[in-house]
Amino acid sequence: MPTRDLAVVDEDEDFHGTFNEMFPRLRSYFRASGFQKADAEDLSQTALWIVYKSRGKYRGEGSFDAWVYTIARNVARDELRRRGRRTEGEPVDETTPDESPSAAEQAADRQGLARAAAALAKLPTRMRACLLLHVQQGLSYREIAHRLSLATPTVKVQIWNARRRLKSLLSE
């Protein structure tokens, strides 16, 4: 549990504004990362405490949002590790080496893949995430629902709609 100096936090009106802006964003981020509502709020508090504690380290280089986002990602990763959940769904930490089967197969697929990717890019992100997690990662509807904090029927509908729209886009 984070520790904090009550008096300083109370008097810091500037940080109150930051809190009000960032709390909904962080909560939404943790919900989208598969955490339950109560956990998402706890983790938002933790992330905001880290932001508060280390706000002197933010040197104004790059976006403040991106800096907070990085903190949130680290908090999510630590929590997932603490819970011992599989790391497959964790945010990607660093550039991962290419694991594709072979250059020849890639070349053969490249054209179709580029076409499919262009069509996929036109799908809403959530719809695309549901479809790709199902097809590429082999996750069940229930697993996707758990991972994206969605209801299982919602995942089914998203995938069904994604396929329908993809078919339409590719036939154009």
Binding site: M1, T3, R4, D5, L6, V9, N20, P24, R25, L26, R27, S28, Y29, A32, S33, Q36, A38, E41, D42, Q45, W49, S63, D65, A66, Y69, T70, R73, G89, P91, V92, E94, T95, T96, D98, S100, P101, Q106, R110, G112, L113, A116, A117, A118, L120, A121, T125, R126, A129, L132, L133, V135, Q136, Q137, R147, L148, R163, R164, L166, K167, L170
Partner: protein, 248 residues
């Protein structure tokens, strides 16, 4: 339609979340275009994008909920060298709900014969009883004639305002507690409890639980040390008390 979806992720390395974030929000450079093209056909990167979009366009939070979150943020206990006493340490063999009885004077008078001062006190007590009974009778007659007034509703009290016996354990304990009792949420919402020491070296947070009762796991019980004050409270509950207990 699955055949139209690339079954494996697109070739090339994944962007880092920072690269993806910049690609989404920053200028459309060739690098940004490359990352976005990759992400469009990659399950993991799309998932990361989904999280980033959730961060950028959050669902609104109600004002009162936000205020409660800020209150909680600013009231989480800070470490103190010597924490202020929250409540007197009460031996566990004397339940809190019986303290009032114990604290009251004995109902029977002392066996010894009262002296002059005692007689005077008895006289005053008799006069007081007579006056009280008379006043009561007068009031009863008066209210019987008056139209029935609606009894004022007792305010619903939660958290710290609850009687102290709803917050258990508290005080000096012989053994580590096996469960923590607190006022249940009237809405039946799951609540979480946190237990911590003054230095915050020890802390434990329960899973969400309903019914105003949470089991304290055996593994955590073993971590508690005698002579150390442990505080506990219900997370995210306004007016929550913060009782403390100590092992002998």
């Amino acid at each position: 339609m699955t055949e139209n979806v690339p079954a494996s992720r697109p070739p090339g390395p994944h962007p880092t979340p920072e690269q993806l974030y910049r690609a989404r929000r920053g200028p459309r450079t060739s690098e940004a275009e490359r990352w976005l093209a990759h992400a469009a056909a990659c399950a993991l990167c799309t998932e990361e994008m989904l999280r980033q979009e959730a961060f950028d366009a959050p669902e609104p939070v109600a004002e009162d909920r936000l205020a409660a979150a800020w209150k909680r943020f600013s009231k989480t206990p800070a470490p103190r060298a010597t924490p202020a006493p929250l409540a007197p340490v009460i031996p566990i063999n004397r339940p809190i709900n019986r303290l009032a009885v114990v604290a009251q004077p004995p109902s029977r008078p002392p066996a010894s014969r009262p002296g002059r001062a005692g007689l005077s006190a008895i006289g005053w007590a008799a006069a007081l009883v007579t006056a009280t009974v008379g006043l009561g009778l007068w009031n009863h007659t008066r209210t019987a004639q008056a139209p029935p007034a609606q009894a004022p509703k007792a305010p619903s009290l939660r958290g710290a305002a609850e009687p102290s016996e709803t917050w258990q354990p508290s005080g000096l304990l012989k053994t580590a507690p096996t469960e923590l009792l607190f006022p249940a949420s009237p809405e039946g919402e799951p609540q979480r409890v946190t237990v911590y020491d003054s230095s915050m070296k020890y802390s434990w947070t329960s899973p969400p639980t309903a019914g105003g009762r949470v089991a304290f796991p055996e593994a955590e019980r073993k971590k508690l040390r005698p002579g150390v004050d442990y505080f506990w409270t219900v997370i995210d509950e306004e007016n929550a008390a913060a009782p403390k207990f100590r092992l002998r």
